[in-house]
């Protein structure tokens, strides 16, 4: 709600000014330190940066992560997140935590990021990972930002090793479609699409020309007639958006073809957890091929 925020800032102009002056003074001191020194009090406000930061941060370096990091449906690191303070991505809340660095995602609220910067807090914005190569980049970038480059390089080396082990020659690649709420699919140039391909599937949506986050009508799915439909895990509390996953067409395709893989928290972010997703999906493929033979 940008208008509301704009209104409230102009209304509390005086308070804002005082805050800004204090912040500028305080920020000036810490900012210089942050440029050369390692940040000591880091707040992350995006699910994916949360997880990367939790993996790489040193003891006590990470102060707070977003509340979504503690949601088992979205996050692969619930336990770790619960040990930290949780934030809700609100500028006021984060400012009062007095961080010396804030890490945000590209999709974090622009207004929040802008406000934090105006208050003199350095904010690093991470792009989401669109491929496995991006995952390596993000790990290294996070290592850089947190002053933990050595750990990041070790993690990337391990990532490369495990990924290489997973790359295998698959004789018959089953055709699969990723199908999410509201009928969205992931085609080429998406992390999910790459997970699918590495796990030995053919992305049938990509073959039909679907790109990132495009809507695939139910009838196109039916005519595509894939060997596997991989759907997202439903959230609690019903929604009409997810109802499509229970439509007779989807149910039918999934029932006939057997394997019923589900995308979960390992799929969402560009972290080493995607390897776990690939492993699980590859197992499903083997069951599927085995069952077909």
């Amino acid at each position: 709600m940008p208008p509301a925020i704009r209104h409230s800032t102009s209304a509390s102009m005086r308070t804002g000014k005082i805050l800004a002056i204090c912040a500028a003074a305080w920020g000036a001191m810490t900012h210089q330190a942050a440029a050369t020194e390692v940040p000591k009090r880091v707040v992350s406000m995006n699910l994916c940066t949360d997880q990367l930061a939790m993996m790489l941060a040193g003891q006590g370096q990470l102060h707070s992560v977003s509340y979504i990091a503690a949601d088992p449906r979205a996050s692969a690191m619930v336990e770790e997140a619960r040990a930290l303070r949780l934030n809700h991505g609100l500028a006021e809340e984060i400012y009062l935590m007095q961080p010396d660095l804030v890490i945000a995602g590209a999709f974090s609220t622009r207004a929040t990021v802008a406000m934090l910067r105006r208050l003199g807090i350095p904010v690093v914005v991470f792009e989401p990972a669109y491929s496995l190569a991006d995952v390596r980049d993000r790990i290294l970038h996070m290592g850089d930002v947190l002053g933990r480059s050595a750990e990041a390089e070790a993690m990337v080396a391990d990532f490369d090793l495990r990924l290489a082990a997973l790359q295998q020659d698959v004789q018959t690649r089953p055709r699969a479609v990723l199908y999410y709420a509201n009928g969205y699919t992931s085609g080429d140039q998406t992390l999910a699409g790459e997970i699918l391909t590495v796990a030995g599937f053919d992305n049938a949506a990509a073959d039909r020309g679907y790109g990132a986050g495009m809507k695939m009508p139910l009838e196109v799915l039916a005519v595509t007639n894939p060997d596997a439909v991989i759907t997202s895990q439903p959230y609690p509390g019903a929604s009409r958006s997810e109802e499509v996953l229970a439509h007779p067409v989807v149910r039918n395709l999934r029932a006939v073809k057997g394997a019923a893989s589900i995308t979960d928290h390992d799929w969402i972010c560009g972290t080493p957890f995607v390897l776990r997703a690939i492993e699980r999906l590859a197992q499903d493929r083997e069951t599927l091929s085995g069952g077909a033979e």
Partner: protein, 326 residues
């Protein structure tokens, strides 16, 4: 009779067209063959599980809205009475949303249409109580604005409180209505309630005719007004509730269709009932085809199209009413 034959033919043509149009791009002969033959292949799946329920629901819901609109207008003797406009559909949507988000709909499938029925019933009763037996346009519109706004606000509240992150984005579905990705399950869920509603509303014809002369005269003509009122509330509740439960609130159909068809049937309230039922089916089928032709990949809501057609007609109606009063 010619009007009915013409409208029926129109509905039949649109029904077939609705079956033939879709993003899968199957030829007409091929699709109809797949529909009839049924070999469990993907084409049959498309025809029987996606397009057929969609077309059937368009007919059912359009017919219901047209019928309900004509009946309410006949009873209130006001051409502005329409389930969508006066908040009946909105309250039905609230009922449906409550059933879905409290989990009642999962525990018991019929809870969804029944909750929508309760919502629609309350909506009708509130509007009828506020507008009085002969709803003047002003009270009717004010009552409608109030009921619609309250129902929409409560629907948004329920959806915002849902633990499901998708729910909040579905306000537009409940406010605008859509037939995308509905299945036969939805047809069977709505059909029994709608059938009851059609039966109740179809018996109102003579009473509505008599009401042309006012309540007193109608009563003296042997019409039992209490029965008439009960039949109307029951019928509108059933058809609007069941329709909204599966496809959201679709506005303007019950307003526009009787308005267009009234001169065609000589303003006869009883004949307008069935003409509007057919006209409503034709309008929703057309809107649903338009939705698929204009922006196939965007899931444009039905109510958007019906409102684009309906709102200017509504303004025209208000202008006409004002001129008549002067």
């Amino acid at each position: 009779m010619r009007v009915f034959a013409g409208l029926s033919a129109l509905v039949a043509c649109l029904f077939v067209a609705s079956l033939l149009i879709g993003p899968a791009g199957i030829g007409p002969g091929e699709s109809l063959a797949a529909l009839v033959a049924g070999d469990r292949g993907p084409l049959t799946l498309v025809m029987r599980e996606i397009r057929l329920p969609r077309a059937i629901l368009a007919v059912m819901i359009g017919g219901s809205l047209g019928l309900a609109g004509a009946a309410m207008q006949g009873y209130l003797r006001n051409p502005l009475a329409e389930p969508g406009l006066i908040g009946v559909s909105g309250s039905a949507a609230l009922g449906a949303v409550l059933a879905i988000h409290t989990g009642a709909a999962v525990a018991f499938a019929l809870a969804l249409p029944m909750a929508a029925l309760v919502g629609a019933g309350l909506g009708v009763l509130i509007v009828m109580a506020l507008a009085g037996p002969r709803g003047t346009s002003l009270t009717l519109i004010l009552a409608g604005v109030a009921v619609s706004a309250l129902a929409a606000a409560l629907t948004s509240l329920v959806l915002n409180l849902s633990p499901n992150p998708f729910a909040a984005n579905e306000i537009i579905f409940w406010m605008m209505g859509s037939l995308a990705d509905r299945s036969m399950t939805h047809v069977w869920l709505a059909l029994p309630f709608m059938a009851v509603g059609w039966l109740l509303l179809s018996r109102l014809g003579r009473g509505l005719d008599a009401l042309t002369l006012g309540e007193d005269a109608a009563q003296a003509l042997g019409i039992r007004l209490t029965h008439l009122r009960l039949g109307l509330v029951g019928g509108v509740t059933c058809v609007v509730g069941a329709g909204t439960a599966v496809a959201g609130a679709i506005g303007f159909v019950g307003l526009v269709v009787p308005h267009i068809l009234r001169p065609v049937v000589g303003a006869h309230p009883s004949q307008l009932l069935w003409a509007s039922a057919l006209g409503g089916a034709a309008m929703v089928l057309t809107a649903d085809i338009a939705v698929r032709m204009i922006l196939p990949e965007r899931d444009l809501k039905l109510g958007v199209v019906t409102a684009i057609i309906g709102a200017p007609l509504f303004l025209h109606l208000i202008l006409k009413l004002r001129q008549e009063r002067i």
